[in-house]
Amino acid sequence: MTFELFVFYVFAAILVFAATMVITRKNPVHSALFLVLAFFTSAAIWLLAEAEFLAIVLVLVYVGAVMVLFLFVVMMLDIDIATMRAGFVKNLPLAILIAIAMVIEIFLVIGSGSFSLDQFAAPLPLPADYNNTASLGNILYTEYMYPFEVAAVILLVAIIAAIGLTMRKRPESKYQDPSKQVRVKKGEDRITVLKMDAED
């Protein structure tokens, strides 16, 4: 067994362990953190498959951004675990049915022969100066320009949807307008001089 294969099995074992923990832990925060571990190890496995750029971007986007959002949500919602577990037994038969269907689907896809190892031979080890990012960039912005722009549109839709779903102006909340604050003048904006008769 080569060293690379050994590293692969170590990471694969950690990945399977972490993934199991994600679905079995009772505390949602623990689950989310195990999901982070799972992403990390899968990034390492992608790296072993010589997909340098994708592996690091997986850490950057999923660990660095998506899971932060997950943690925000999971930490700040008071999830009552008791009520969540109440429906467990009731929904179990349906869940098992769906799980079986999914397993069959996976086997149909993998078993069809179009994903077998003789179709996809292991890639040759790339030289040390191979630049994964550059070879990706060379085609992404020219040959695949159209899908690239479609990605921009999808991101635009995501921005608008996120704002549409979460923005709520509460009437009682107070804002400070910095541009107004900056434009305040020393004299007339700060004090009002009242004329009044002197009282004795």
Partner: protein, 118 residues
């Protein structure tokens, strides 16, 4: 390519090990005389009323979601920046369009007040 990543793997392990060793050292050398007052969470002398994990403003989620979108944008910019001198004007224009579309989203955020913080 992979041989370059072995030092990184070792370095990450060392980075974690340094922290773990230091904390273990603290446990070994430090005193341990706990009592319930000492272990109660700090709240300026009050007893803690309730669980400290509370609901938070939805605004924090919005920041996180927008962060994901912009982070993706940065991920798209990285390969572009590396090969810009090879793909030339075509590449430049395709990125200009990409950023242009996203700037529309950014302006929308701005006008909607999503970047406002009360």
């Amino acid at each position: 390519m992979l041989e370059n990543y072995l030092p990184i793997l070792v370095f990450v392990a060392v980075g974690i090990a340094v922290g773990v060793v230091m904390i273990t050292l603290g446990f070994v050398l430090g005193t341990r005389r706990p009592n319930s007052e000492k272990l109660s969470p700090y709240e300026c002398g009050f007893e803690a009323f309730e669980d400290s994990r509370m609901k938070f403003d939805v605004r924090f989620y919005l920041v996180a979601i927008l962060f994901i979108i912009f982070d993706l944008e940065i991920a798209f910019l990285f390969p572009w920046a590396v090969v810009l001198d090879k793909i030339g004007m075509v590449g430049y224009l395709s990125m200009a369009l990409f950023l242009g579309i996203l700037v529309i989203g950014f302006i929308y955020e701005w006008k909607k007040g999503a970047l406002e913080w009360e």
